[in-house]
């Protein structure tokens, strides 16, 4: 960002908003927005508590398991769709449908079937994350140079070797991009799932804080979640940049 010919780091704008928040909070415009300083103080107070830690643990668990399932199913499915016309015809309409569908509306359906618990939340994570992972893995496989496939074949690679040595690697930049986008959607999935189920993890905390008007607690939890989601997305983007060099060098 450049202002009056000077380079201003992105953090500066963040700082500006933080100051604005503090001022509005101090002016006591609304009970909904306590000053940032007291939220930060509260942060040090409640983050180490057992209830907050267990909420974090439960959330992380559903998040990780859901993502692992989404990746373990999504990547092979996407590769299969990229290679087989039949599989593509069979699954592509559904993948596209779910990719753009308002998935939140489906969570109550999962809730009815799987009850108010971790299973529902894990499935919500999968539901949010998987489609973009499938679609990107598919795109990655379709961008493989045909001569690389011929090369593998002509030097004696069998089907399994072609998959593990060529397809998977060649599609890696797209697969990682898909996983990054999927993981970001999964953050929404886990929170929406918990809010709707509302007796697990942050869903329960939010409900508690909200019903008792503990706004500082509420904002603390939000800040922690936002920060975690941001760090997660950035580290995945970093990983992705490391393989980008060869995405560009493909024919």
């Amino acid at each position: 960002m450049i202002v009056f010919g000077r380079r201003i780091p992105m953090v500066a704008s963040l700082l500006l908003w933080a100051i604005l928040w503090e001022i509005i909070g101090q002016l006591q415009v609304t009970i909904l927005l306590p000053p940032l300083s007291s939220v930060v103080m509260r942060l040090f107070e409640i983050v180490p508590t057992a209830s907050f830690m267990s909420a974090l643990g439960v959330t992380a668990y559903a998040f990780i398991v859901g993502n692992v399932i989404a990746i373990a199913v999504g990547v092979p499915l996407g590769i299969l769709m990229g290679r087989s016309v039949i599989a593509d015809r069979l699954f592509l309409p559904w993948v596209n449908l779910f990719l753009s569908a308002p998935l939140t509306a489906l969570v109550p359906v999962i809730m009815v079937i799987f009850g108010l618990g971790q299973t529902t939340i894990i499935l919500t994570v999968v539901l949010f994350a998987i489609w973009i992972i499938v679609l990107d893995a598919r795109a990655g496989v379709r961008s493989i140079s045909p001569s690389l496939v011929e090369m593998a074949h002509s030097f004696g690679a069998n089907r399994l070797q072609a998959f593990t040595r060529i397809y998977l690697w060649a599609a890696l930049p797209e697969i990682l991009a898909g996983i990054r986008l999927g993981v970001i959607r999964a953050v929404k999935g886990v929170i929406i799932g918990q809010l709707l189920v509302s007796i697990v993890g942050f869903g329960a905390l939010f409900k508690l804080y909200g019903s008792r008007f503990l706004m500082e607690h509420f904002w603390t939890a939000l800040l922690v979640l936002f920060a975690l989601a941001f760090i997660l997305a950035e580290s995945l983007a970093w990983l992705e940049r490391r393989v980008d060099f060869y995405a560009a060098s493909r024919g």
């Binding site: 001569s147 690389l148 011929e150 002509s154 004696g156 040595r165 690697w169 060649a170 060099f245 060098s249």
Partner: protein, 265 residues
């Protein structure tokens, strides 16, 4: 007006590694790419497939490589009918076909790895073949760090280190700049002289074909048929530079040009 110089006629082949018999290739039921191709590739020599764009050179080479099925006819390598790729044949690709995520040595060992050779052994062989193509010291570089010419050397090293009887090259120097191309052509001559391998070389450059080939198979455009087989009588033992000034070289280039001209409209 001068009549075109008579071409040196092909001698009968006594020992051929690759025999192509009555080969037809029809793409998608409609496009006839090759028609009734019968030709032999003599052992230890370099044979070029030469012809205008679209005449089926790549198609013929890929059928011999076992990468494409023929519509009719058959290909025999060392007497055995070809039904797919095999260890006695290696391919050098026009666009190099290197794995961008793998180092030079990993790319070169690919064929040996697929054969299940132990790591130490295959890297030992690969190092020799990398040195053979003049890339010693670049073993741990990645393809995107190399020039086009060096990348094709990696492709060549990969094909050499599996120790196949037949090395097939589809326009290997077409994506390489002119200076490197000339250097490559000279090195190819040395390679053919030193290695006991049969080379099948696709090009659409007449000069390149005459310069490197013991035998030139001239294909006519669609449907690809064999128009002529030429064996330029050039002594390649001496100075590789002198070949380009050799009268037979110049005459053969001329004669092929006359012969190909009839296909252009």
């Amino acid at each position: 007006m001068n009549a075109p110089i008579a071409l040196t006629a092909a001698r009968p082949v006594t020992d051929s590694v690759v025999e192509v018999r009555n080969l037809d290739k029809i793409y998608a039921g409609t496009v006839q790419a090759l028609k009734d191709i019968t030709v032999d590739f003599p052992r230890g020599q370099l044979t070029s497939l030469l012809g205008p764009s679209g005449c089926g050179k790549t198609t013929l080479l890929k059928i011999i490589a076992g990468l494409l099925p023929a519509s009719a006819g058959e290909v025999r390598v060392n007497g055995k009918v070809v039904s797919g790729p095999g260890p006695e044949r290696a391919f050098v690709f026009q666009d190099f076909a290197l794995m961008p995520w793998a180092s030079v040595i990993k790319n070169v060992t690919f064929g040996l790895e697929m054969r299940g050779m132990a790591k130490a052994e295959r890297e030992e062989i690969a190092r020799r073949s990398i040195a053979r193509v003049g890339l010693a010291g670049f073993e741990n570089r990645y393809p995107h760090e190399l020039s086009g010419g060096m990348r094709q050397r990696v492709g060549l090293a990969r094909a050499l280190c599996v120790d196949a009887d037949v090395v097939m090259m589809d326009e290997p120097f077409s994506a390489v700049d002119e200076q490197n191309r000339r250097k490559f052509q000279e090195e190819l001559l040395t390679l053919v002289a030193q290695e006991k391998k049969t080379f099948i070389f696709v090009t659409h450059s007449i000069e390149e074909a005459v310069y490197v080939s013991d035998r030139i198979v001239l294909l006519s455009p669609r449907p690809g048929r064999i128009a002529e087989i030429i064996e330029p009588d050039i002594n390649r033992d001496g100075d590789t530079e002198a070949i380009r000034r050799h009268p037979v070289y110049l005459d053969t280039v001329d004669a092929i040009w006359y012969s190909l001209k009839t296909y252009l409209d």
